[in-house]
Symmetry: C2
Subunit: 420 residues, 2 copies
C-alpha cells in the first residue's frame, strides 16, 4: 500500500480487505453459533466492498430502493435483502416488492398498508418484520433513542394494535421483529442490557402475534472510538454477557427456529478504512501552527465534527509519511473557503511537512458517501481496496478525481508507509 | 410554478430568476456608483444560474480550479475570474494561470512562490491580490473571523513583510487587496464598521506597497435570516453608512482609480431558492406529531442545522399545498436512517397532509452542492430555474432524480402554489 497515495493521488479512501475479513472472523468466532450478520449498506455502499462482504453476511440491510439496486449489483440475491427506512416512498415499496426483497421492515402502519396494496396488485405475499421502538433503554449506552418520540418503528406502547393491524393485511406475512434503538456504544454491559430489552419485547410481540418468529433482528450498536482516550469495545465481553440471553430465548420452543441477526455497520467496516489527505501547505497564524490539507468536510463530514456531534473531538490520525518525526501540535484545515473546514485542532502528530500524507483512521463507515462531495467543486477522492498485494480501484463517483497530483514533481509523497 | 413539484418530482430545488434579478437591481441602485459585484461561485455553482448572473457581475470569485472551469462553461471570460482559497494545489495554481484568470487571491507566501514559479514557466506576469486577515473586527457582526488564527489570508501583523516578499517576485504583479473577514451579518452598523477596518488596512497596504491599487475586494458579509424573528438586513442602511467611507477613500488620489468590488454569495442567491420536499408519511410518536419528508440532510445539510450551526433553529418554511390550513405544531424529519435527520422541530405550519409539499426558504445558497447527496443513495433533487412563465431544467447531477413520484397516483400534489 506504500504507493497508493502516489498512484491514485490524494485525497484517497483506502479500504483494507484483510481488516474487513478479520472483523467478520471475530464475529463468526464469538457470535456465529447464535447470530447471522446483517450489514447496513448505508455505512458504506461501495459495490466492491459489498461484493467482498457477501459470503459473510446473512442479509444486506438497505435503507433506500437505490440501495436495493446496489446490493443486487454486488451479486446479492433479492431474498437476502431487508429494506428498512422511516420514509419509504410508495414507489420504493412497490419496486422493492416487485424485485422480491426478502423482508420489508415496517416502520409505520401507513407503510404496511402501502406494502399490502402493492403485494396485492402483484399477487404475492410479502414477508415483513415490524420494527419496534422501545420505551426504555439502558443508561450509559452511547447514543440511545429508546423512550423518545421517533420516526423509527412502532412505539412499544401501541405495539399490540399495530401487530393486529399488520396481521389483518392479507398480502403481508409477519415473520418477525426488528429493533435498532441505539448506536455507537462502547459499553458491553449496556449492549447486553439493551439486548435483554429487545428479547423481552420480542417475546411479548411474538406471543401477541401468536407466531413462531422466523427472524429477529438485533440492532447491534457496537461502537468505535473516534478520538478520545477510551479503548475499543470489548466484544468478548459483549459475547459473554449477551449470548446466554440468546441461549435462554432459544430454549423457548416458540423461538427455537428463530434466526437471530446482528445488524452492523460501522463496527464492521469503519476500522477497515482510512482517508488519506495530502498536506498542501503550511501556515503560522497568530501562534497556531496550521497545515493546509487537500481533504476537508467535503470529503469527510464526520471527521470534521459536523455529523451529529455536539462536542468536536480530533479523530485518531497518523502522519504516514513521517511516523518517526518529533511530535508537535498542529491545527489541520481543509481546502474549503469556510472557517468551519477543520480536520483537527491542537492535535499532536509527528512533524508534518508539506507533501506529507495524513491518514484519518476509522473512516470506512460514514465517510465518502456521507460527505458533501460537490461542495466547492473539488474533484472527489478515489476509493481503493487493498487485498493482499493488490490495489483495486473501487472508485464509483462520476466526479473525476485527482490523478495529476504528482505530475508537477512538487509534491513529495514518496515515503508513504501506511502499513508498517 | 404551480406544477413544478408534480412535473419534476420532489425533492426539488427551485430558483426564481426574477428574485435574482431584483437582488442585482437593488445592489445596482444602492451601490452601483461605488462598487462592482463579485459573485462567490461556491454559494451556488449551477451553470444556468452563473449564466444568468454573468451580465450583472464584475467578476466571479472561485475557490477551486473546477470552479474556474464552471465559470468558463457559463461563458465567463477568464479575465473576469478571481481565484481565492486557502489550500490551492500547485496543479490548480498552474492550471489557473495557464487559463489566464484575472487575479489570483494570495492566501499565503507559499502560494505566491508557487504562482511566481508557474507564471515564470509560462512567461506571463500574473496579477495578484493579497488577502489580508485583519487583527480586529466589529463586535455584533454575526460570524467574524478577524483577530483569530486563520487559514485565510495574510495576518495584518505580518502584512508589510508579505507585501515586500510578493513584490520581490518578478512574475507577479500586485494590483490590489482582498479582505473577507466575516459572514452572514444582519447589522448594518457592524458591516460599515467592518468596511472602515478594511479601508484602513487597504490604505496602509497600498502605501507600504507604493501602488495605486487597481482593485479592492470587500467581502460583504451581507446576511440572511435563517429562522428566528430577526428582520432581514437593511441594505439601505448599509449603503447610507458605508458609501461615504468609499467616497472618502476615492477622494485620495492613490485610490481614485481603484475598482471597488463587493464579494457576495448568500445574500444574492439565497432568497432566490427553495427546496421543495414532499410529505411521504405521518406518524404520531409519544406526543409528537411527525411528518416524514422525502428530503433530509442529504439534500440540505444547512437547513438541518449541520453546517456550522451551534444552536439549531427551524428555517422558515411554507406548506405550499395548504397555505390556508389551520396552524399546528409539527416535527419534520427526512428519509434517512438516522435520528439526526431532522428538518424542523416543533414548527408551526398550516395543516400538513401526506402528499403536501413544504418549501424551505432561503435555500438558494449552500443548498444542494453543500449537502451529502450520496448518503443512503437516494436520487438527487432536480434543479429548475423559473424565468417568467418558463420552467428550465437546470439539473446537473449525474445522480438520477425522481421523476416517477406521481406515477403511482398515490401522492397528492395537485394543489401546489408556491407563488401566490
Amino acid at each position: 500500500m506504500t504507493h497508493a497515495a502516489v498512484q491514485f493521488g490524494t485525497p484517497l479512501y483506502v479500504y483494507d480487505a484483510d481488516v474487513l475479513s478479520s472483523r467478520f472472523a471475530q464475529l463468526k468466532r464469538l457470535f456465529g453459533q447464535h447470530f447471522g450478520v446483517s450489514y447496513a449498506v448505508k455505512a458504506n455502499p461501495n459495490i466492491e466492498l459489498l461484493r467482498r462482504m457477501l459470503p459473510h453476511v446473512a442479509t444486506f440491510d438497505v435503507s433506500s430502493y437505490k440501495e436495493v439496486e446496489r446490493a443486487l449489483k454486488a451479486g446479492c440475491p433479492a431474498d437476502k435483502i431487508t429494506f428498512s427506512g422511516p420514509a419509504k416512498r410508495d414507489a420504493e415499496v412497490r419496486a422493492a416488492i416487485a424485485q422480491g426483497v426478502g423482508e420489508l421492515v415496517l416502520e409505520s402502519l401507513a407503510e404496511a398498508k402501502s406494502a399490502d396494496f402493492w403485494a396485492g396488485e402483484m399477487g404475492v405475499r410479502q414477508s415483513v418484520l415490524i420494527r419496534i421502538n422501545p420505551a426504555t433503554g439502558p443508561r450509559h449506552f452511547g447514543v440511545s433513542f429508546s423512550g423518545r418520540a421517533s420516526q423509527f418503528g412502532i412505539d412499544e406502547e401501541v405495539l399490540d394494535e399495530a401487530i393486529d393491524a399488520v396481521q389483518s393485511l392479507k398480502n403481508l406475512k409477519l415473520i418477525g421483529f426488528h429493533i435498532y434503538s441505539g448506536t455507537n456504544s462502547l459499553n458491553p454491559a449496556a449492549i447486553a442490557e439493551n439486548f435483554a430489552i429487545f428479547i423481552q419485547l420480542f417475546r411479548r410481540a411474538a406471543v401477541h402475534a401468536d407466531i413462531r418468529p422466523e427472524k429477529l433482528v438485533f440492532g447491534s450498536g457496537f461502537g468505535l472510538t473516534y478520538g478520545g482516550t477510551e479503548g475499543p469495545l470489548d466484544i468478548n465481553a459483549v459475547a459473554e454477557l449477551a449470548l446466554p440471553l440468546i441461549d435462554d430465548l432459544k430454549s423457548d420452543p416458540r423461538f427455537a427456529d428463530a434466526h437471530c441477526v446482528l445488524e452492523m455497520g460501522r463496527w464492521l467496516i469503519g476500522p477497515a478504512g482510512w482517508l488519506l489527505t495530502g498536506v498542501v501547505g503550511e501556515k503560522h497564524s497568530r501562534g497556531v501552527d496550521m497545515r493546509l490539507c487537500d481533504a476537508g468536510f467535503n470529503n469527510h463530514l464526520a471527521a470534521c465534527g459536523m455529523m451529529g456531534t455536539i462536542i468536536r473531538r480530533n479523530w485518531h490520525m497518523m502522519n504516514v509519511s513521517n511516523p518517526e518525526g518529533a511530535e508537535q501540535k498542529y491545527t489541520l484545515v481543509g481546502p474549503l473557503c469556510t472557517t468551519i473546514d477543520v480536520l483537527a485542532t491542537d492535535i499532536m502528530l509527528p512533524e508534518v511537512r508539506v507533501g506529507d500524507v495524513i491518514a484519518i483512521e476509522n473512516s470506512g463507515a460514514y465517510g465518502l458517501t456521507a460527505s458533501p462531495s460537490r461542495f466547492i467543486s473539488h474533484p472527489e477522492p478515489a476509493e481503493i481496496v487493498l487485498a493482499g498485494n493488490e490495489m483495486i480501484d473501487a472508485t464509483e463517483s462520476a466526479l473525476n478525481h485527482w490523478t495529476d497530483v504528482d505530475t508537477t514533481g512538487r509534491l513529495r509523497m514518496a515515503e508513504i508507509a501506511l502499513k508498517g
